[in-house]
């Protein structure tokens, strides 16, 4: 079974600084998809960024980028120019290719942004 590990339960960053959230996963598949989801306090979970394993280029969405290391099975999220609105719980998630539809989530990292 696939597992997703987020080893940092809590992180903090100063406003306008850069922070990196770690995620590792375990799979025997060669093709799969990785996601970062954000859950703000008392608000709905939303997708931040996604990466297809067959793509070598790291995904980027504005201030959010990933460092995808397939051989190391690592998928970290970098948030640049952190803003107060980035404070949230961040979840890393994995989905196998093929007919699989379900996601396997990590335990989450609570990010605090300090003014």
């Amino acid at each position: 079974a696939q597992t997703v590990t987020q080893s940092q339960p809590e992180m903090s960053v100063q406003e306008a600084e850069t922070v990196t959230l770690s995620c590792t996963y375990d799979t025997s598949e060669s093709d799969y998809y990785l996601f970062w989801y954000k859950q703000p306090p008392s608000r709905q979970m939303i997708l931040v960024i996604r990466q297809e394993a067959y793509k070598q280029q790291n995904a980027t969405e504005n201030r959010f980028s990933v460092n995808f290391q397939k051989a190391a099975k690592s998928f970290s999220l970098k948030i640049s120019d952190s803003q107060l609105g980035d404070a949230a719980m961040y979840f890393c998630a994995y989905r196998a290719s093929g007919s699989a539809r379900q996601l396997t989530f990590g335990s989450g990292t609570q990010l605090t942004v300090l003014p």
């Binding site: 998809y33 709905q44 997708l47 996604r50 297809e52 989905r95 539809r101 989530f105 335990s107």
Partner: protein
């Protein structure tokens, strides 16, 4: 915008009661999911459905059942609520896409307390 709604934000029930959690999505998505979210454990999949009247067990189906009579509605049923089912319950939906990179859209969650 996709909208996923859940019938209650907060719910308090007594041990042994039958509990219904309702989820409705308005984007004609084929897939719907029920997760429970617990601190330190992330999100764990209870059940999912890929079509009307179709369902598959997730990682922790024990003590739960589901119903999908209409495409837009997916219900989670706790046949006899127990205190260890006190948790946050999240519903999500997604559409099937050729590229398999379908995003899951989440509802606001229902915080269930079983006394």
């Amino acid at each position: 915008d996709v909208k996923v709604t859940q019938s209650s934000r907060y719910l308090v029930k007594r041990t042994g009661e039958k509990v219904f959690l309702e989820c409705v999505q308005d984007m004609d998505h084929e897939n719907m999911f029920w997760y429970r979210q617990d601190p330190g454990l992330g999100l764990r999949l209870i059940y999912f459905s890929y079509d009307v009247k179709m369902k598959e067990k997730g990682d922790i189906p024990e003590g739960y059942s589901v119903s999908r009579e209409k495409k837009e509605r997916f219900s989670l049923i706790l046949e006899s609520a127990s205190t260890n089912q006190t948790s946050m319950y999240l519903c999500a939906s997604s559409r099937i896409t050729v590229l398999r990179t379908d995003t899951q859209y989440f509802g606001p969650g229902t915080r269930l307390t079983v006394l």
